[in-house]
């Protein structure tokens, strides 16, 4: 071979197997850190539990759900699962700010692997952590009148995982621009609050004024909460009117968006947000 071929040397990089290994080890790191951080596990459950049992029970006296066949806490349950995932996953994504602060981001970004592999690992890590955490809440289903049906539980876990992936990716998009650790937590609050209130997690989407309906329809989290609630209501024995009030699905200008499409929108959001995060991290440093 002549020296001309030197530029074409194939080193063992760029191969899909290598990229997958890199993503896997980034995921493993998230698992190790999660396992070590018991206080984080406990503290991030407090908020959803307050929503479920304090807000839920407190409001059930004034909220007469339909003809009273469905408790308000039952209605709230899928929404609270989504909230727990929202808090944890947003934090996982934004934690990249700490990785930058302590230099570890540089260790990852100078490796001979793509930024996509690293951030994909990070998103799977955030999604796994958030989903594992929500399992604890899921175990409480019976307390609020949601049956322990295997199909329902599996469906919920799948949807929670998908949503957590999306929120982690969103956290990464923001983390790419936040350079200071002190700004990270306010930033988390800034995304969590509107996503939470405009998602239908805490109130039914039926009969909303137009401005609020439009905002909830623009929120990708809405498309994760609605299928979860539908899955729960499929297991309940409720009359049509109650169901239409509490589980109205998502309506675009009079057209009911099918559940499959709702899930597809969440999946598409995952891809778009991950791509945006990759673009942003590739440009910074």
């Amino acid at each position: 071979m002549s020296t001309n071929t030197v530029a074409a040397v194939r080193v063992p990089t760029g191969g899909l197997a290598h990229q997958a290994r890199a993503a896997l080890v980034v995921w493993q790191r998230e698992m190790i850190r999660f396992g070590k951080d018991r206080t984080r596990i406990v503290s991030s459950l407090v908020q959803p539990l307050l929503f479920l049992f304090v807000l839920g029970v407190g409001l059930s006296s004034i909220v007469s759900a339909g003809n009273g066949s469905v408790g308000f806490t039952t209605f709230l349950f899928p929404g609270v699962l989504a909230l727990s995932v929202l808090f944890t996953a947003a934090f996982s994504g934004i934690s990249m700010v700490w990785d930058r602060e302590f230099g570890f981001l540089r260790e990852m970004l100078v490796a001979p692997v793509s930024t996509t592999a690293i951030l994909t690992g990070k998103c799977f890590g955030g999604a796994t952590v958030a989903t594992l955490q929500s399992l604890i809440l899921l175990a409480l289903a019976g307390l609020v009148g949601v049956p322990y049906s295997p199909v329902l539980l599996l469906t919920l876990v799948g949807l929670l995982f998908l949503m957590a992936f999306m929120i982690t990716a969103l956290g990464l998009v923001l983390a790419a621009r936040v350079k200071r650790v002190e700004s990270a937590m306010p930033m988390v609050q800034l995304i969590i609050t509107p996503l939470m209130f405009l998602s239908g997690a805490l109130f039914p989407l039926s009969g909303l004024p137009t401005w609020l309906a439009v905002l909830t329809n623009l929120n990708p989290m809405t498309y994760a909460v609605a299928p979860m609630r539908t899955a729960v209501f499929d297991q309940l024995d409720v009359d049509a009117l109650t169901r239409a009030t509490l589980d109205p699905g998502i309506v675009w200008n009079g057209w009911a968006v099918p559940v499959a499409m709702q899930v597809a929108i969440v999946a598409a959001s995952c891809v778009v947000l991950l791509a945006a995060a990759v673009a942003r991290f590739t440009r910074t440093e």
Binding site: M1, V6, V9, V11, T13, G103, M108, V110, A111, P112
Partner: protein, 335 residues
């Protein structure tokens, strides 16, 4: 793994720079560097704060893009063959890049996976590098429990894990005690013998630069001198002679009148610069006429070299101008 047949990479310069320029908005950090570092060489990069050392290393390891010029590492172009460059270099940055929640071994495992180190040999390689830096016994402890020196050693071990051809170390010994600094240099020498690795190291410490085969002195974005430490020192051409006498005043006068030397009292000693200190001392005893209590002859140090090329000592260069030690400055002018 995917090595080529054909000309061994060893024939190509480990680091090749031509006309390298890096401009940050208003700052020109690197102002045109040409450099060849041979494979297997231990190359030192010396210069005061802000000289552009870290910037040059960041370009070489593909972390920042050069404004203009060519940079090749282990034969690969940093701009067009990014991943190939990354695969062949080990990095120890000026700032720490460890995950302190993970154990020492977990940090290395992470690195090995990220660099695609062959799984069958990964564990043995981890043990090898951990033993080399004396951290094998502490491998299971979280890095947050390590001292600064241990962290630095772990980073060096990590930089070596994937058997790089070129190891870049940006001030690997900063803030470490003399003993740890010495042991880090011991590892580097060992590497040099054992793995034929090219080491590219930046430092502020002149005494450390003596460990290098060649050194480049960088100042304000340019290389102002490049040679072996010995030749650089020889080029300065002056030894420093310091004496304590019974009567410093008389001694200074005698030195001026009888030897034609311009001496001055510095730090309690009469200090002068002469071409060959060792052969000058006997003449001094014979002809000074004042009792001499002690004599110190200092061969030129790299500090003097730095001074000769930049007009200030490396320490002074890091401070506001005009604070250079006058005697040393006089010696530098006398070349």
């Amino acid at each position: 793994m995917g090595e080529v047949s054909g000309p061994p990479a060893v024939q190509r310069p480990a680091v090749y720079l031509r006309g390298l320029v890096k401009r940050y908005q208003e700052v020109e950090a690197v102002r045109g560097i040409d450099l060849d570092v041979a494979p297997g060489e231990t190359f030192g990069f010396l210069g005061p704060n802000g000289a552009g050392k870290s910037t040059t290393i960041k370009i070489l390891c593909t972390l920042v893009a050069a404004t203009s010029g060519t940079a090749r590492v282990a034969g690969f172009d940093v701009a067009t063959e990014r991943d190939a460059v990354r695969q062949h270099i080990g990095l120890v940055f000026q700032e720490p890049t460890l995950d302190t929640y993970l154990t020492g071994e977990q940090n290395l495992r992470f690195h090995g996976e990220l660099y695609g180190v062959d799984r069958s040999s990964a564990a043995a390689r981890r043990e090898e590098v951990l033993r080399m830096v004396g951290l094998w016994e502490r491998r299971g402890d979280p890095v947050e429990t390590y001292s600064g020196g241990m962290r630095r050693r772990l980073e060096i071990a990590r930089g070596l894990l994937h058997s790089p051809r070129v190891l870049f170390l940006d001030e690997p010994t900063i803030g470490l005690d003399p003993q740890t600094r010495a042991s880090i240099w011991d590892y580097l020498h060992e590497l040099h013998r054992g793995e034929q690795i090219t080491v590219f190291v930046t430092t502020h410490y002149m005494d450390e630069a003596e460990n290098c085969d060649r050194i480049a002195i960088m100042n304000e974005g340019r290389i102002v001198a490049l040679d072996t430490p010995g030749s650089l020192k020889a080029a300065v051409g002056h030894d420093r002679v310091q004496i304590t006498t019974a009567d410093d005043h008389a001694a200074i006068e005698a030195l001026r009148d009888r030897f034609g030397l311009d001496a001055a009292v510095r730090e309690g000693t009469v200090t002068m610069a002469v071409a060959d200190g060792a052969s000058f001392v006997p003449q001094l005893f014979a002809g000074l006429g004042t009792a001499i209590r002690s004599v110190t002859v200092t061969r030129p140090s790299l500090d003097d070299v730095f001074l000769a090329h930049t007009g200030s000592t490396i320490r002074d260069a890091e401070q506001p101008r005009g604070m250079a030690n006058p005697v040393v400055a006089a010696m530098a002018r006398g070349r």
